[in-house]
Symmetry: C2
Amino acid sequence: MKILHTLPAQDGFCMPAEFSAHSGCILIWPHRRDSWQNGAYAARRAFAELIGIISESEKVTVCARFEDYDSARESLPENVRVVEMSSDDSWARDVAPTFVTDGRSVRGIDWGFNAWGGLYDGLYFPWDKDNKMARKLCDLNDTDCYDQRDFILEGGSIHTDGQGTLLTTEECLLGKGRNPGMTKAEIGQRLRDTLGVKKIIWLRRGIYNDETNGHIDNICAFVAPGEVVLAWTDDKNDPQYEISKECLDILESETDACGRKLKVHKLPLPSPVHITAEECSGLDNMDGEPTRTPGERLAASYVNFYIANGSVIVPQFNDKNDSLAVEILSSLFPGRKVTGLRGGRDILIGGGNIHCITQQIPQPDGTIGV
Amino acid sequence: MKILHTLPAQDGFCMPAEFSAHSGCILIWPHRRDSWQNGAYAARRAFAELIGIISESEKVTVCARFEDYDSARESLPENVRVVEMSSDDSWARDVAPTFVTDGRSVRGIDWGFNAWGGLYDGLYFPWDKDNKMARKLCDLNDTDCYDQRDFILEGGSIHTDGQGTLLTTEECLLGKGRNPGMTKAEIGQRLRDTLGVKKIIWLRRGIYNDETNGHIDNICAFVAPGEVVLAWTDDKNDPQYEISKECLDILESETDACGRKLKVHKLPLPSPVHITAEECSGLDNMDGEPTRTPGERLAASYVNFYIANGSVIVPQFNDKNDSLAVEILSSLFPGRKVTGLRGGRDILIGGGNIHCITQQIPQPDGTIGV
């Protein structure tokens, strides 16, 4: 592995869209006792179900701590690779490298990671194991690695269309917990230099009460060049309405890097999901204050899906809109099988969902997947 | 990774000779404080020098504990892969898989490991991290893995010529610390079934005072089909003389699996090497008794070399025979560059040498290397 101190865009590398072909996918076996209730029992079941589906169409690597290796190995199909790697938690989207390609080879970007806000408003301390993972994953896969550790970024806060357009939120990228010394213009330039994009569409805020400071991947995602899905509610009394409406207005007034107007598909949200007292009681207190309080609203969204080579996997919340979300996504991804993951709530309790726990490795040729 | 419960020989797999072509080599970054003096400082320097040489002609993977990853990564060339993996110590020969091939693919064998004798006369406790490594290394490399955990064996206790002949010692394989419930015939059959060999040449004992219970790889090794090197001394007052003479008598009276008489090349030993009080003082006491006592004789031997695709690396002990060993091996490996490793003493203090800390992964086609 070479550590590169140049800029990907200058080297001719850019980040492909998630709907382009993948050579693999990375996840982390859950273990953190204040993120996952009851020793991560239900979360592991949900992760295993998800990994089983992804592994049907791409090579999956699962990172497990030393003490969790046997648990992961026994729970997962034999075509999944399990490797030992220490982690603080299990959000591969945010701690694994962001991969870029020049059409011939793939390289990783090692961003700085500070647990979604560091000592300002981060979600745990310490986060050193997580912060070491991107470089180690590049090493593991013999992938050269761009050193961008001086810039705090999580993979969940960016989406690209692979044609020069980036989606992100001001709430997250301009917050005080990431890069407070940088202006919006400087942050935008860094995204252009590293991800090879030409146009950045800045939404204002992410999903209501999303503890990642409004990651884009929970509220809006590209489903094709020029087309996005947006998490939506028609309930004007829900604080989410105003947020989604603001996103819609921006998206409808913007054009992408190719000058296209964006086609916005509304993806209905589930009814508000609140954590129960019983669920809270299954979360250990690791740092002096409980992670969650009974009745707290969780940032549930069907937008937090993962696009695999052969499938799209979308969380389910035992909600009336579950099947509607599957139906809408099925129409948007005609070449892929769209599957609802029953354990969506078990992942949501940890603070994110399917997209947050996966990170794709693109095929270098950038072909659009099946 | 598939876990296989069949027998390699029945599946058409056998262990190639070390002088056949390799696709890679595995080592473990040293860390154990009662094996390696002064925080493994000198050992790491020796390992790094060795890895630098091997990596010129094969892909090297180095396993490092979480806390040692940065040390390994900073010390090693960028074409070396460093992966996180927990270990109790650093003897890849004995804890990594033994690889077998059928000429098309490679599989690993996961032997039981009990630290060279378990609670009977093993060298440390616990050894659970070491014992998990073989399977994890197979998983890492997507190599199917034979489950032979019920049989205690270290890679350092076997040598093959790749043509059906196995060399080993009774002192090690028939000792009470490994498989006390098995007869010599049963152990021999297990070796035939797993390594695909037809003929086993049993030497009696290994190097004098070798704490591995006389591993073959410190006293005798194949250098070509039908040819071995034997660690030798002409000093009849040295307890090693009787041991080496006994080996010579057996080797000269035996034929290999192809019916050939063996050609035995004597490889002179260095003058006896004794650990100093200063060296002992650099070893931490981890389990209530010191690993070594000042003046203790160490099992130094030039036979403990590693045959890489493009080179042979042999330990040096600052001894008058150092250059003679390089010279003899150079004549026996005309296609490879034979290099003396200055840090041989630093590795020896840990209890073994170059062969003990390396494990080759064969090329599946079994071609003989350069």
